[in-house]
Amino acid sequence: MEVTVLLFAAHRELVGAHDMVVSLPDGATVRTLLVELRGRGGNWADLPLHGAVAVNRKYADGETVLSDGDEVALIPPVAGG
């Protein structure tokens, strides 16, 4: 299955990408995805394993199981206002 990954702010700058499509095995969780991204080495390894994540625009956690076509956003600590 494929999910769309979105990166913002410091994360976006860290790896030089804002959005990408990532292929994952069926049954993959948010944690599977994060491990895959960090496994790319270089600056990717600096993406947080325990940061906030949103799946389809709702906050989720590492256990959340992903489905084909999901939109997964890594959410750096927020600073609106």
Binding site: L6, F8, A9, A10, T29, V30, R31, L34, L49, H50, G51, A52, A54, R57, K58, Y59, D61, G62, E63, A73, I75, P76, P77, V78, A79, G80, G81
Partner: protein, 147 residues
Amino acid sequence: MSWSDVTYDPIDSSDVLERVGTPEDGAVALFLGIVRNSNDDRPVAGMEYEGYADMAREQLAVIVTEAAERADSDRVAAVHRLGELAVGEVSVAIAVSAPHRGEAFDAARFVIEEIKTRLPIWKRERYLDGEAEWLEGHLPLAREGAP
């Protein structure tokens, strides 16, 4: 008639104010967040607001609904700006009307506090010396159960 938006357009605070108020309301509270000209004595040139706009829009609607329930008023309006803002520009505007002042103040305060802890928005402060920095933020949720 609660209302919320996340937008790249300049915020018109009187428009936000006019979105609240009914004949049964005796109190209106308005809060504006403004880009300041300094931070910890460092001169600021402007602020860039980056957002996960679609999610921020949904989250702000949720916050406004929660505020309306707390205030026992459906007259809550909030808008957050994204993009490049100059010093003095409005980054966020919140208006609440309610029968009594306590509810109006509390709901407006609730919305700005929740915006700062839940809305997927990030700001990079641009300094007069040409540098820029992402401001430290809040972890949006307790990550219990996270891997």
